[in-house]
Amino acid sequence: MACVLGLLMALIPLALAEGVELQQLSTQRSEDGLSLSYSAKFELPPSADDALLKGVPIYFVVETTVLRNRWYWRDARVARASRSWRLAWQPLTRQYKVSSGGLNQSYATLTEALASIRDIAGWRIAELREIEDSGSYYLEFAFRLDTSQLPRPMQIGLGAPQGWGLSIERSLPLNPDFSIKP
């Protein structure tokens, strides 16, 4: 089993990062379920900054998936969670507005606004019953600037050359107690 796992781990790219540095990522199993905390460090690319100041809202998405290893089939996806932010500049008030879910918050500076996106603590990503089965689990974590929600004409030819790439993907094995393996 471990062998298979090791093989799988070898096959899965451990990290794909573009302009994002993950400073801290941890999971904790509590009575409610599995919760995740992370802290990322990134700067908005200049072109994205420019577009933001011209009124284009910028979306950030963080997605986590908990999967259970299965040797005989595709790995089972046991839980999935995502969260997105909408960052927009309000020229009228000279404020950055961050919306996530139904919550709106305004910030006077971009740094403050990004700070609210960078860190999450205690985000429940799986219910307890979803991770009850025995077996080895692993976590897929992705954080990125979501270009697919940009206005369509801007999406043409978007990619790293245009300086819009901002993402990080991690695949992390979980200990039996659902803490991230060091």
Partner: protein, 760 residues
Amino acid sequence: MSLVTMTGISGALAFLLSIGATGGRGFFERYYNSLFWLNALVATVLVAVIVVSGMRLLWQVKRGMFGSRLLLKLAGIFALVGVVPGVLIYTVSYQFVNRSIESWFDVRLASALEAGLNLGRSTLDSMVADLSQRTHDAAERMANGTSSQPQLLALERLREQLSARTVALVGSSGQVLLASGGDMRSLTPDRPSTRLMRQARDSGAASELEGLEDDAQAVQGLARIRALALIPGGGALSLVPGGAELRLGQAGSSGGERYLMVVQRIPASVLANALAVQTASSEYQQRALERDGLRRMYLGTLTLVLVLAVFAALLLAVTLGNQLARPLLVLADGVRQVARGDLSAKAALSAKDELSGLTRSFADMTEQLAEARGMVEQSVSQLESARTHLQTILDNLTAGVIVFEADGRISSANQGASSILHQPALRGLTLDKVPGLQDIAETVLQRFEQHEAEEGTDHWQDTFELQLRAGGDPLTLLVRGATLPQRARLMVFDDITDVVSAQRSAAWSEVARRLAHEIKNPLTPIQLSAERLQHKLEAKLEGADQSMLTRAVGTIVNQVQAMKQLVNEFRDYARLPSAKLKPLDLNALVSEVLTLYAEAQEKGHLTAQLEPEAERIVGDASQLRQVIHNLVQNALDAVQDSPDGHVVLRTEQSYSPEGDPRSVRLVITDNGPGFAEKVLKRAFEPYVTTKTKGTGLGLAVVKKIADEHGARIRLANLHGPENAGSEGSPSVTGAQVSLSFSKLATAADAGNSRSSPLES
């Protein structure tokens, strides 16, 4: 080819579909790159196909392959028709898109929007600053003024003064101590933010906009300005008349600072306008940001569609050109073949259009042409064979046939004519130029003209005597003439010399028979009467009378005998009994006859050289005996005047090249004066003779008998060898008659009659 066309069309369709799908979930934008490269790939393939087929076409044109020029022309026309409108539309669209995208962006519009935004911003800013200032003033007044009014009432009055929504006293940690007015939805007004608190502590007064996070809620009244001002000396301020509250307040405000918080609603109209300007401005700027992308998208789409359309058009052009050119090529190929003379079955297309119908009609036409030509060839060959047939007949006719043209020249003459007239080349001559025919040319011409004038009969006929060669025998010609179409004239003539001769022979035999009969009858009574006279009177006469009587009677009897012999000869000639052919030995027969000429043999005038190996022949012994007798007598008569006259009688055996016996010849040679030239021609006619005595019937009888025996008889003069080459008539040294018997007795016949060589 059609496969590639389909690919091109499907590629274009895929592209168009993807454009149509832009209404969905941004399929086109997301896969723009993939689509672009896919289309570029399709375009490349199309370019390759077009280049290849174009090269092939050009190569065919260069090599002069049939029909390639037509194909090139058609493809060129179709390509022009397809490409030119496409390029035109592309150019116009390109300009149009470029211009319209550019026209969205206007500097004045941009600056106006910017100005509007600034206006809104400054309005809001001024409202914020104003409220901040007024709050600050109110706070100072509140600190200085020793108002006797209860605090709550004072706040209420202040709220009215400032026309604010909420006026509140806030403690140092931000807790609301006392509030007037406020939100209906909550019992206590919101606490100010820590940032605002800090600013107010630092600078005495601070204010900020709130509730603008959500545009819709902001317009509904959530947007407000919150101002906070530090109340100087706030520690001494008694908030309420009651000591308990004051204490409480004092106890609660450990820092001792008090703040005056004023919350004011932003007028909805101002806010709405400002927000509208903000929205417009940000949309405008967004669009400016999207400008390049849009242009790239539209123009890229246009270009790709153009490229695909053009290539598809080119492919279609080639395909259509092929299709259109095919019947034409089939037709042209057929025409070329027919022009070369090849009338074999031509290919025809089965499609229903007119061009294919043309190919079918052409095939039908060619077939009919081939049939017609076949019929013509057949009839020509029939005509040819008929002509050959006729020519063969003409060539083998013994009669001469001569055709004259209208001007009198001979246009054709057959072999018979040439051999009769002894003129190998008659063509091109007129009749009076033909040697020997000058004499009759005039007459023949006259007869023709006479005949043409008569219009009654279809031919004329006449007999002419011709002297072809000087000293030669005259030729008797039976000439028949007829007119041919186009004033040509036909002359047919026969050499009837032999016929005339035969007729003459027949006539003579008839005359001889009758004469013999008539003469013979009185001869016997004459002889008997004479003998009777002698018998009666001989005794009565004496001397000279008696001898005279005896002489006279002897003369009468002798002459009557001679006359009888003469008559018998005539009779024999006229009515020879038909020969009874039996096998016999010619040598024996000759020996038997020669016993009668013992005297001549003894004198050395006659010698016989008999071939002992001679085969037996078939013949009538008595008739042959007469033949030998006649010939020997003739020869002896010819040499009787010369003292050294000599006659040789030979028999010879001749053999065929294979060695079989062919014929037996009897040759009688003398060294007399020979035959006269005239006699040679007509020796076998009766009464043609060189002898002083004789009836002249001998050779005629010989000829008749020889004919009955199927034997060939030849008369010839012998010439001295020294005079062979001299000119004129060579000197004759003798004559020769030869009889060759080709009817030999077969072995069976020979066996039957070997014992008796001579019958009868």
